[in-house]
């Protein structure tokens, strides 16, 4: 028996079980606060806060709201700013217009995104007795390697300075 590939839509379906679901015909205007994972297949306008949980905007979902969640998966349309503690996943054919603050981002080919992405690195908890942060060495950016001419380049580069 061959194994079934773990396609994004299939894994999405599998994870829906046990979630709260706003169905295709549901229209909500206002503030949503959720203490469980939520899937939106209908329309929502307002704000969504579920900082410990996952929000999924389904294929038919249309959300016009600022969102704060642990994780956000977008398959449909989302207009608004998104803040996640963990990650945002913008799937193929999804449309997202807004600014994103997140620790990790995944964008599939075919997704449309317009907005700013600000990656917020999660702070690693310090072990007890660790020296204060000020004394820790700061990460140094990799030095720029010297410019080399690429094989695709022809002989020259020209510059005009004003």
């Amino acid at each position: 028996m061959s194994s079934v590939p773990n396609r994004p839509t299939e894994s999405f379906e599998a994870t829906r079980t046990g979630n709260a679901v706003l169905g295709k015909s549901a229209v909500v205007k206002g503030q949503i606060l959720s203490r469980e994972d939520l899937t939106i297949d209908g329309e929502v306008e307002g704000t969504i806060e579920m900082q410990e949980h996952r929000l999924t905007v389904g294929l038919s979902g249309k959300v016009r709201a600022n969102v704060k969640a642990r994780e956000v998966i977008v398959l449909g349309t989302l207009h608004g700013n998104v803040e996640t503690g963990d990650r945002i996943d913008i799937r193929k054919e999804a449309k997202l217009v807004g600014d994103i603050r997140t620790a990790r981002i995944v964008i599939e080919d075919g997704a449309y995104f317009k907005g700013n992405v600000d990656i917020v690195r999660a702070e690693v908890p310090k072990p007890a007795g660790a020296p204060p942060a000020a004394s820790a060495p700061r990460p140094v950016p990799a030095p720029a390697s010297p410019a080399t001419s690429s094989p695709a380049m022809a002989a020259g580069a020209g510059e005009v300075k004003r």
Binding site: I90, I105, V106, I107, E108, D109, A111, Y112, F113, K114, G115, N116, V117, D118, I119, P141, A142, P143, A144, S145, A147, T148, S149, S150, P151, A152, M153, A154, A155, G156, A157, G158, E159, V160, K161, R162
Partner: protein, 193 residues
């Protein structure tokens, strides 16, 4: 998908590795590769698909005639380039400027100049094959600081072809213009605000 080496990108990236925390504009359309590369260097990325915005505003009818319509032009500028002055520390406009004609091109370059902080860089690409009726368009993706991946997006008729002199004129508001001539008829241009 093809890949190509890019000295223009290498030069653009030399600033990025020295100074984390910059705000960058990428007009190629959001993709994992560029997003990962730039955010891993510690930068903020503003992403939009400039060609798609053009098609939305001017695609219904004659693409270039529509660009001369003042109402459509204003609509496009508001949709695609409505950013505060000196908001960005760098811009990747790729080959999008080739598909803008006359006054719209001047307006777009003016806005880009206004949006960039002094001293910041912009990378643009221009086809140098003047006899071609249509040119290939791509979604440009950064693979590493010297390599671009080109995801094909069909062919388009460019508004005009540029030589070094017309590019100097186009970017006359910028502090400097640097050209990299390549063997594959693509002129890479780095302009410094």
């Amino acid at each position: 998908m093809e890949t190509r080496n890019s000295s223009g990108l290498d030069q653009f990236c030399s600033v990025l590795v020295e100074r984390p925390g910059l705000t960058l504009l990428d007009l190629a359309g959001a993709n994992q590769s560029t997003m990962g590369f730039l955010t891993n260097l510690g930068h903020r990325v503003y992403s939009d698909d400039f060609l798609l915005q053009m098609d939305r505003c001017f695609g219904d009818g004659d693409f270039y005639e529509n660009q001369a319509d003042p109402q459509k032009m204003a609509q496009f500028l508001d949709a695609a380039l409505d950013y505060p002055a000196q908001h960005f520390d760098g811009a990747l406009v790729w080959d999008t400027l080739e598909f803008l004609s006359g006054p719209l091109l001047e307006n777009v370059v003016g806005r880009l100049s206004n949006m960039l902080r002094p001293g910041s860089y912009m990378l643009a690409l221009f086809h140098a094959e003047e006899r071609a009726e249509t040119i290939p368009t791509y979604s440009y993706r950064i693979q590493d600081r010297k390599t671009i991946t080109l995801a094909p997006r069909g062919r388009r008729r460019p508004a005009q072809f540029f030589n070094n002199r017309s590019l100097e004129r186009l970017f006359s508001d910028f502090e400097s213009v640097k050209f990299f001539l390549t063997r594959d008829h693509l002129r890479e241009v780095i302009v410094r605000r």
